[in-house]
């Protein structure tokens, strides 16, 4: 007999999609450990109460593990008297491996540790990219962390700090990958481990890595530092495979769904049914590669476009990350080191100049991109804008010097 009735939640056991409520009830009804089964029952009781009253009843607080100031999401119940067994119900954010790969052995090991100390509820993964171990009391938070930390797992970020990074499946399975996503992810992320665990920044700062412009990690939209794979030589065309598509799908389909959808009209079908690509005008949007994966693939001269400043609504409204580096080769250790240095430069400048609770992109919005670029010592270039300024209200008495810088950079690049 369940201690708390859950008539509304019971309705979420109906229907064909797997039910989280059924999972909670398995813990409540079948788990032999009193701590787990009572916590699950109490959690269901509080959730039912939320459903009835349409209110949440968790409040934050201060819980962390020894040596860290971040990584635990403390939750204390405001209705703990009514639901005492789940009155402390913190989440432990744990950084996943780059690319989100797991062995079942490791998942079982994590499940065993979690069963020993926590509620038995886990999510792979939260919107932050972390493994979310949901529901542990204050005392067991340290024990659980000590346990899993010994076999290779570390906490993620929470609060005003560098947050947990994310990277796509990329080179491990995807033919469109233009990066070693896992290396980019770990090189950047693990350079800032101290900033993950000890919140001391104006607000959160996120790294996300996607191997191509399809941006499966939503990096441009929701990270402060987005690394997107691309290439700068010609895309590869397997003309035989292209003819195969023409035969199976028909010319009309290819014209309608590939050629005419190219955003820069860089594609055409030749008289001999081969595909012509204007690579100089291709923007690497990935559409034609998505439709014709056997015929088209990225070139060999791969690297990354880096966009900075993406974030969601709070406080000034949504911002996409914008181009700071149009192309960065990522081949040698020095190349990686340069990207890490750029990230350090950006975080340092923002830590110095950002207001409290101001995301990096908001600071850029406030001070202007040109000032930001000057601050991080990155030269301007036209790939950074959709169009040049349209307002004449600007003071430009150093025009000649600025123009000279452009010509000097061009000359340097030509001599390099």
């Amino acid at each position: 007999m369940a201690k708390y009735d859950t008539p509304m939640l019971d309705e979420l056991e109906n229907g064909p999609w797997p039910s989280f409520i059924s999972g909670f009830k398995r813990l409540r009804d079948d788990h032999p450990d009193k701590r787990i089964n009572e916590t699950a029952g109490s959690l269901l009781g509080q959730l039912e109460h939320s459903y009835e009253t349409r209110k949440g009843y968790w409040k934050g607080g201060t819980v962390s593990v020894f040596g860290y100031g971040s990584g635990i999401i403390p939750r204390f119940s405001e209705v703990g008297d009514a639901f005492p067994e789940s009155k402390e119900f913190h989440t432990v954010r744990v950084q996943p491996p780059a690319g989100n790969h797991y062995t079942t052995d490791m998942l079982r090991k994590l499940a065993n540790s979690w069963e020993k100390y926590g509620s038995g509820l886990i999510t792979f993964h939260g919107q932050t990219g972390n493994i979310m171990f949901i529901g542990v009391d204050t005392e067991n938070t340290q024990h659980f962390f000590d346990d899993i930390n010994e076999y290779g797992w570390d906490l993620g970020g929470a609060g005003p700090c560098v947050r947990t990074g994310m990277s796509c499946v990329g080179a491990s399975r995807c033919e469109q990958s233009c990066l070693d996503e896992q290396k980019v992810h770990r090189t950047l992320q693990n350079n800032f481990t101290d900033d993950v665990h000890r919140p001391a920044l104006p607000y959160k700062f996120k790294f996300k890595v996607s191997g191509c412009g399809n941006d499966c990690q939503n990096a441009i939209e929701r990270s402060d530092f987005a690394v997107i794979g691309t290439w700068r030589d010609d895309m590869k065309v397997n003309q035989e495979a292209f003819k195969g598509y023409l035969q199976t799908k028909g010319k009309e389909y290819i014209l309608e769904n590939v050629v005419s959808r190219c955003p820069t009209q860089a594609l055409a079908i030749n008289d001999d049914d081969t595909l012509a690509v204007n690579n100089r005008n291709c923007v690497r949007c990935m559409h034609c590669l998505n439709v014709l994966p056997k015929a088209l693939s990225p070139g060999d001269d791969k690297g990354a476009t880096i966009c900075v400043g993406g974030k969601r609504t709070l406080k000034i409204g949504d911002l996409m990350g914008t181009v700071i580096v149009p192309f960065k080769k990522l081949e040698t250790e020095d190349d990686y080191e340069e990207v890490v240095e750029l990230a350090e430069e950006i975080i340092d400048f923002w830590a110095e100049n950002g207001l409290e609770h101001e995301r990096c992109g908001e600071m850029v919005e406030r001070i202007g991109l040109a000032n930001f670029l000057e601050g991080i010592d990155v030269p301007v270039e036209p790939n950074m804008v959709n169009n040049p300024r349209q307002s004449s209200y600007v003071r430009m008495d150093t025009w000649d010097e600025e123009a000279e810088k452009w010509f000097e950079r061009k000359a340097e690049a030509a001599n390099a």
């Binding site: 797997p18 409040k59 939750r75 989100n100 939260g126 491990s172 939503n218 439709v291």
Partner: protein, 357 residues
């Protein structure tokens, strides 16, 4: 000695290679192309012609240890003991032997998991914590998602859509669920109710004042106590003050509503990434099944399915047909609230004679 605190090992993000399926490890960076043999199944082929099959399944996302172990058992039986999770919390099993694909699908389905979510399907809804664990939620997350996926399961398991559809939900206007082709988000409609007895002790007042996007909050003495007051004419009911100051309660059983936004697209394919746009609001926050929100989502999906061309995401489709046609086809009302008045809003106005008749 046992009382001395244990210093953490600051190992950071673990190396993924130690957990990766051996075929993926062996062929890292060596993939040639992929095919989609059937919904929920991917076939990736290496440059040497070796094939790897991936079977993707939707789960309840919040896994109890029993379900996690069941998923592990399935991985041991069919997929060499390795799994991968997608960004939308689907589990993926990698299989080198094609003969194992169908039995794996049958096993997953017989255990109640849902194979699908690839290519032009309605993908798993990416979502947040809601009443289950968040400190500021206006609604639940897992319950909304369970209710909607029950209704959309056929679209998850099939390839009926013009292109992929990403759905997201968020329990407050911070929008942790992120951008989606269709986003179902809480939208508060009344200013916060302030418990003046608590503000001075609980809230760092200058930070709360600074947090307001429209400068509607100011320090004030209320009944002799230092507190905060809200200019309710300026207040946009966003709830940004609530996290730093819980006595400024924004959630309301009746007045916290749901709004639906469409056309968010993170991909660079065809057009540049886009933000979602408001299409419907005032939708009741109605647990345990939220039927009103699901009905609007289904209506939008049905219209998109009937009217969009192959490969058009929802934003591409609306860009082609225009917003007036979108409101006409979906029979949703167009109101003054659809006209943006935030910074940069003028860029969203139609400064032309381009009108579709």
């Amino acid at each position: 000695m046992s009382d001395a605190p244990r210093p953490p090992i600051e190992s950071g993000c673990p190396d993924g290679f130690q957990y990766m399926h051996p075929m993926m490890r062996k062929h890292y960076g060596n993939w040639d192309y992929h095919e989609d043999p059937q919904p929920g199944v991917l076939k990736h082929v290496t440059k040497d012609g070796e094939a790897l099959y991936t079977v993707r399944a939707g789960t309840q996302r919040i896994l109890d240890v029993y379900t996690l172990r069941l998923l592990c058992d399935i991985g041991d039986e069919f997929a060499d003991g390795h799994v991968h999770f997608t960004i939308r919390s689907n589990i993926e099993y990698m299989v080198t032997d094609e003969a194992k694909v169908q039995p794996l699908i049958e096993k997953l389905e017989s255990e109640g998991f849902v194979v699908g979510g690839t290519r032009n399907s309605v993908a798993m809804i990416s979502h947040t914590q809601g009443w289950l664990h968040c400190d500021i939620p206006g609604t639940d997350a897992s319950g909304v998602v369970k209710s909607m996926m029950d209704e959309l399961i056929g679209e998850f398991k099939n390839w009926n859509m013009p292109n992929r559809v990403h759905l997201t939900t968020s329990c407050c206007q911070i929008n942790c669920g992120g951008q989606g082709d269709i986003a179902i988000n809480v939208q508060h409609t009344k200013p916060p109710k302030i418990n003046h007895d608590l503000v001075a002790n609980v809230c760092e007042r200058p930070s709360v004042v600074a947090r307001c996007p429209v400068a509607a909050i100011r320090p004030a003495m209320v009944e002799g106590k230092p507190s905060l007051e809200v200019d309710e004419k300026k207040c946009i009911c966003c709830g940004a003050c609530f996290p730093p100051c819980p006595p400024m309660q924004i959630n309301d059983a009746e007045h916290s509503k749901l709004a639906i936004w469409v056309g968010g697209n993170h991909s660079n394919a065809r057009s540049k990434p886009t933000f979602q746009k408001l299409v419907a609001a005032g939708i009741p926050n109605n647990p345990p099944r939220w039927p009103e929100a699901t009905a609007i989502v289904k209506k939008i999906l049905k219209t998109y399915k009937e009217d969009a061309k192959d490969w058009e995401r929802i934003n591409d489709w609306i860009e082609r047909i225009g917003w007036p046609r979108f409101f006409e086809l979906t029979e949703l009302p167009f109101t003054k609230f659809h006209i943006d008045n935030w910074r940069g809003a003028r860029n969203s106005l139609n400064a032309s004679a381009h009108i579709r008749f």
